[in-house]
């Protein structure tokens, strides 16, 4: 029988050695050792079509010694704060019937890898011969979107390098017939590599890929098989249950999202004013909006580990919302530029250009919003996110036009105030949704907003009231002019809270605050 996958592997320039190789220091072992090591911990053949490699983790064997973590870091030359393999703790029961169990996890080499699906530059591939999800540091631009997409916190951003890295099941070792470093280091034989039939696994994974302390395998269909103890203790929960910390604020993205939304909102307002017949300072306003858009796009590159390769982000527009966002805002900027030029030069086509720019901008904001609709980040994964982004645009756009003096009229003020009310309502409903939720991550987000983040959260509401409602309604010229910076500050603070208050899904961590999520 022919083995097309081996051929394919050979075509890829990879040759798999299928025999176990043991480093020998002396030709014959001197003692009658009954090593667990002699039982092969990796498959003795390649996967056939419809099969792939996967990890098997035996929770009943693991003693939480973390040899796998150290061995992984040594194998890959990673610094201590990056751990492609991690060991988490879950605990339950009552003294003396207590059980603390451990989860040792690398990458789950999912059937539907969310890291791969979201990647804007195709840095990820699912190896055709083995099913291993591989990541190319060379292709990666360090956008870190994969670190948001993975429910298990597998891809980790290495700030020293400016790129992400992750477990590749020691692909290079497997090709030599050697055990991956973690498998090899485990004194208990708790980690092994197996072959799984992928289609069958789709039907049965929920029973074997899920475990207490792990996010649902539904998000990406993890292939890791976990052997749980026959009886799990009652009230079992992750050891880090009470340790919820604010996430990274991603300042370049705070600036980028708020300013792109301001830019689109402003341009739409200008176009609306143009449609209703206003002419005052429209060109200035359009140019201003364009400049803000430029600042926003420049700011976004500061978030990249490799800003010089920002253009690569366009590559995967067919699949990745991040690519689409870049593409749509790029087009929006061009169209907004043409529109501004047309307004300055009073060209006849300006209305059409403005309309197109507005549509492209709206599409860009939609793409922005959809970036955050990832199951791994539950408090983002909601329609409130998309409405929040549009409401920011709808609030700041009119205020921008008013501040720049393109519109004097009451109607625009009223639109702004109405939007502010809608925005407040959106925020309130989102908060109620979080606090009422049974999900650990959503409830924990609400907990953060009520405790560590309570002050900025209240200030954010106050700024919106002041900038969106009180100042515009106050009527004086100065007050209307001041409304924009105040509301903008409110939106920036709100977006900051959006990033820091998310509690990502992740595997259980140890009790002590040593293993911080990477993003």
């Amino acid at each position: 029988m022919s083995l097309p996958l081996i051929e394919r592997a050979e075509n890829d320039g990879i040759r798999f050695v299928l025999s176990q190789q043991w480093p020998q220091t002396s030709p014959q072992p001197l003692y009658e050792i009954e090593p667990l090591a002699s039982v092969p911990r990796i498959p003795q053949r390649l996967p056939e079509p419809g099969e792939q490699y996967r990890f098997h983790f035996d929770m009943t064997q693991c003693i939480g010694c973390k040899c796998c973590v150290v061995a992984c870091n040594e194998q890959n030359g990673n610094p201590a704060d990056i751990n492609w393999r991690r060991v988490g703790e879950i605990e339950g029961g009552w003294y003396p019937d207590t059980h603390r169990l451990y989860l040792s996890m690398g990458c789950n080499h999912c059937l539907e890898p969310s890291c791969l699906i979201g990647c804007p530059v195709e840095a990820y591939t699912k190896d055709s011969a083995t099913g291993i999800v591989l990541h190319s540091a060379e292709a990666c631009i360090g956008c870190q979107y994969c670190t948001w997409n993975c429910s298990y916190g597998v891809p980790q951003y290495n700030a020293e390098r400016g790129v992400v890295g992750k477990c590749d099941m020691c692909y290079g070792r497997l090709t030599q017939g050697r055990e991956p470093a973690c498998v090899n280091a485990c004194p208990e034989g708790a980690i092994r590599i197996e072959i799984v039939k992928t289609e069958a696994w789709r039907g049965e994974y929920s029973g074997s890929a899920n475990a207490p302390g792990l996010p649902s395998a539904d998000d990406s269909i993890s292939t890791t098989r976990i052997t749980l103890p026959d009886k799990l203790p009652p009230e079992i929960r992750k050891a880090d249950y009470w340790r919820v910390r604010p996430q990274a604020p991603h300042w370049p993205l705070v600036v980028m999202t708020v300013l792109t939304q301001l830019s689109v909102g402003a341009l739409a307002t200008i176009w609306f004013l143009q449609l209703v017949g206003a002419t005052t300072r429209l060109g200035v306003a359009a140019l201003g909006s364009l400049l803000l858009g430029g600042v926003a796009l420049a700011s976004s590159t500061a978030h990249l580990g490799r800003p010089i390769h920002a253009y690569r982000a366009l590559k995967m527009w067919r699949r990745s919302w991040l690519s689409r966002e870049v593409l749509l805002f790029g087009c929006f900027s061009m169209m907004a530029g043409l529109y501004a030029a047309a307004l300055w030069l009073r060209l006849p086509l300006s209305r059409g250009l403005g309309g197109t720019a507005t549509i492209l901008g709206a599409a860009g904001i939609t793409a922005s919003g959809f970036i955050y609709l990832v199951p791994a980040r539950p408090s983002w994964n909601t329609r409130f996110t998309v409405s929040d982004f549009f409401l920011t645009a709808a609030l700041l756009g009119p205020l921008f036009a008013i501040a720049i003096g393109a519109a004097q009229g009451r109607p625009l003020v009223l639109i702004g105030v109405a939007t502010a009310f809608a925005h407040l309502l959106n925020q309130a409903l989102r908060f109620l949704w979080l606090i009422a939720s049974d999900s650990f991550e959503l409830h924990a987000s609400a907990r953060l907003l009520c405790t560590k983040l309570a002050r900025p959260f209240l200030l954010r509401g106050a700024l919106m009231l002041a900038g969106g409602i009180a100042l515009p309604l106050y009527g004086s010229h100065l007050a209307r002019f001041a409304a924009l910076p105040v509301a903008l500050a409110g939106e920036i603070l709100g977006r900051y809270l959006f990033y820091v208050s998310v509690v990502p899904k992740n595997m259980a961590a140890p009790y002590l605050a040593s293993q911080e999520p990477a993003a």
Partner: protein
């Protein structure tokens, strides 16, 4: 950050590249060495075989030796990252002498001249025995042998002990009392061959994880674990005995009571190889399951079941560590364990042994060759024949060998406080973190006229107090042998040069002997550890720990060999002590002891309601001078914590991750992270002892075993409260709440 890196043109591809190691295959390029040096791990006494990978004179990686019978290629997380200790930033690099209150670098000549002169003057002025020496379990056996001669014969003080007294002394005393000699009778292979493995106060999953694979290789075993805390090891057990702190003697007596009652004992073995059985039978009569249940908190059923399992097993392995040793009744508890093994005939056979799982990499070596608690070769101070024999071997006057043991470690500290010790030499240990009741030790060290600390690391909390710091080479930088828990002598090799001016302890001892003018007498013609090994082989000949057939080459070839290995032994294999039932006692029989259970010394009360237990975590080693410098270990275990049961936390209104103070009659540890968990019983708390920053020995007590002199680290009475800063913050919040409530009312 470089400009190219900022732009993203540079992703440190070279630093993160992979390559092919000829032996170990695909791996990080930086971890591919020029050559490998075979050696033995320098942390605990499991004694794992390993290779150090050296590239351009630097140790870049380590690998477990797959052919080593102890570890079968595996290493624990400390072993896997051991190479990082070699170029840790806190390595001691130059001799430092205190001048005008500050430690300043000096030459070796000046350092050793000063040391010899100061110690000699002190001894002349106040008496020879006013010099104290505290050593370690970290040196190679050759160094222990040399140091013993230097201290006892060169300096002529007998007040010399090791930090092994904080660790294994109870096992040593217990073995000596029961069997007439130190030396663990069994081997690791017994873990694979026993039907019942009974672990008392031993958390091997955290402390000796590599031993777990020997357990795993035993499919027929029943694992029984007795521990007051639900340790990782307890969770592995088939039968877990969650007994009350320090009630193990009652449990052991209770088991013997049941076994004798049901006749599940080895009468023939008892009659032929033991004395004291009749007294023992009468003595354990009162330890009925009901009485034992009261003391231990176990059910009668648990006690009967344990006795049944032990009584019906072909081979029982009884292992213990610090839960037994760290006690004012440590030596006696060991005797009770030995009793149980003896009356059931579980000794000297495959799978059957009362087995002390040792602590430091070469605690065994200092016990064999060290001249501290006994004379080299397990000879006794009190035995004139032993002294004469040594004097003949060394060609010295027998009067120079002390006829009694000098002060033990805690007594040296006490003598320092009362100025009976005036100068102290501390070698490779960090008492400021490891010694109980810190304030007493500090007072002792401050009272000294001269303190020398010889260590591989500086600053440590102890070297900071020294008048003279001698920088020493560590594991990986020197040659010699270690003996592990199962009496396996393994070779230790030099892979890299020590940093700066640091020298091997061996070279320091020789140089010091030179300054004292006794080098030629004590160390005739010695230049390297191999010379000490040759003499030690000769000295150990005919003793229980007989090295006379060993050579460095044989040790390398066989990845360690168990003693006894007398000259002329041809076959290398597993050895067990007392296989013939002959014990090195006067009558050749093992002694059974009647050991009465007594409550531990400091019972909790209303003011100090918790029993504090101390212990370890897998990521760290002792006082963290080494592991605290290994980034990956620090990341996995960054700070100390206090475990408290949920019910106690609720009644004290404490939450997970709160910062708490632990307070005893003697002192307090501030700002410790609270872990609310069901791992510990209500009324008990647990804290790891590794962390100088949260030093649990500020609260532990000065209570020592009268026989072994080992400290009672495991139980003391404490109270726990929210830390000062945290309390203030919470107080503010409460006040604010009150104010706002006042407003709303």
């Amino acid at each position: 950050m470089s400009f190219r890196r900022m732009l993203g043109l540079d992703i440190l591809a070279a630093e993160y590249a992979y390559g092919e190691d000829p032996q170990y295959g695909h791996t990080s390029e930086q971890k591919i060495p020029d050559h490998w040096i075979s050696t033995t791990c320098g942390y605990c006494s499991v004694g794992c075989g390993m290779f150090i990978g050296v590239k351009d004179g630097r140790a870049v990686t380590v690998r477990g030796n797959p052919n080593h019978p102890v570890n079968l290629g595996k290493l624990c997380p400390k072993g896997l990252s051991e190479h990082y200790t070699l170029d840790a930033p806190n390595r001691a690099k130059h001799p430092l002498l205190r001048k005008n209150g500050k430690l300043v670098p000096v030459s070796w000549d000046e350092a050793l001249d000063t040391m010899a002169e100061k110690l000699r003057t002190t001894q002349k002025r106040y008496g020879r025995d006013t010099l104290g020496v505290i050593s370690t379990g970290q040196l190679v056996t050759e160094e222990f042998y040399a140091l013993g001669k230097l201290v006892q014969l060169g300096f002529g003080t007998k007040n010399y002990d090791g930090n092994t007294t904080l660790c294994m002394a109870s096992a040593v005393s217990g073995y000596k009392r029961s069997f007439g000699s130190d030396g663990p009778p069994g081997t690791y292979e017994d873990l694979q061959k026993a039907d019942v493995i009974f672990l008392v106060g031993a958390n091997i999953a955290d402390n000796h994880p590599i031993l777990c694979q020997h357990l795993d290789a035993n499919p027929k075993k029943t694992l029984i674990v007795a521990d007051p805390r639900v340790t990782k090891t307890a969770m592995m057990a088939d039968l877990f005995l969650p007994l009350k702190p320090r009630s193990d003697i009652a449990l052991l007596n209770g088991l013997m009571h049941v076994l004798i009652q049901t006749g599940q004992i080895d009468c023939e073995y008892i009659a032929r190889h033991t004395t004291g059985f009749a007294e023992l039978v009468r003595f354990v009569e009162k330890y009925t399951p009901a009485y034992v249940g009261q003391i231990t908190g176990l059910s009668e059923d648990q006690i009967l079941k344990t006795a049944y399992l032990i009584g019906n097993a072909q081979a029982v392995f009884i292992g213990w560590t610090m839960g037994v040793n760290h006690s004012t009744q440590g030596a006696e508890t060991v005797n009770a364990i030995n009793n149980l093994a003896l009356i059931t005939g579980n000794i000297g056979r495959a799978g059957a042994s009362p087995f002390s799982i040792t602590g430091q990499c070469n605690a065994m070596g200092t016990r064999e060759a060290g001249f501290t608690s006994s004379l080299p070769g397990y000879r006794k101070f009190e035995n004139a024949e032993d002294r004469d024999q040594l004097a003949r071997l060394w060609k010295i006057d027998a009067d120079r060998i002390p006829a009694s043991r000098g002060l033990a470690y805690p007594d040296i500290v006490e003598a320092a406080v009362s100025k009976k010790i005036r100068a102290l030499w501390i070698i490779a240990t960090n008492p400021i973190v490891s010694f109980p009741n810190l304030d007493v030790l500090k007072q002792g060290l401050e009272t000294l006229e001269f303190l020398v600390v010889q260590d591989g690391f500086h600053p440590t909390p102890t070297t900071e107090l020294a008048d003279l710091v001698l920088p020493a080479a560590i594991w990986g930088e020197k040659e010699g042998t270690y003996t592990n828990s199962e009496r396996r002598v393994s070779k230790v090799n030099r892979a890299v040069a020590p940093p700066g001016d640091a020298k091997s302890d061996f070279d320091i001892f020789l140089a010091l002997a030179e300054k004292l003018g006794c080098r030629d007498e004590l160390f005739p013609g010695w230049t390297c550890p191999a010379h000490a090994f040759e003499e030690w082989k000769h000295v150990s000949q005919g003793r229980a720990c007989d090295y006379s057939g060993l050579t460095y080459a044989l040790l390398e070839q066989h990845h360690g060999i168990q003693w006894p290995f007398p000259d002329g032994t041809t076959e290398v294999g597993t050895t067990r002590l007392y296989a013939d039932g002959c014990f090195p006692t006067a009558d050749g029989k093992a002694k059974l002891f009647c050991i009465e259970w007594a409550p531990f010394p400091e019972q909790p009360n209303q003011q100090f309601p918790f029993v504090l237990n101390t212990g370890r975590t897998v990521e760290h080693w002792h006082t963290r001078t080494k592991t605290g410098q290994v980034p990956i270990l620090e990341k996995m275990s960054p700070n100390a914590w206090l475990e408290m049961n949920t019910r106690d936390a609720q009644s004290l209104r404490l939450k997970p991750h709160d910062r708490v103070d632990v307070i005893s009659r003697r002192g307090s540890v501030r700002n410790v992270e609270l872990r609310v968990t069901e791992i510990v019983a209500p009324g008990q708390v647990f804290m790891p002892f590794h962390f100088a920053e949260s030093n649990v020995n500020r609260v532990t007590q000065s209570a020592f075993d009268p026989i072994s002199r080992e400290p009672n680290y495991k139980q003391c009475a404490v109270s726990v409260q929210l830390s000062g800063s945290a309390k203030e913050q919470r107080g503010k919040k409460v006040r604010r709440k009150k104010i706002s409530m006042g407003v709303s009312q």
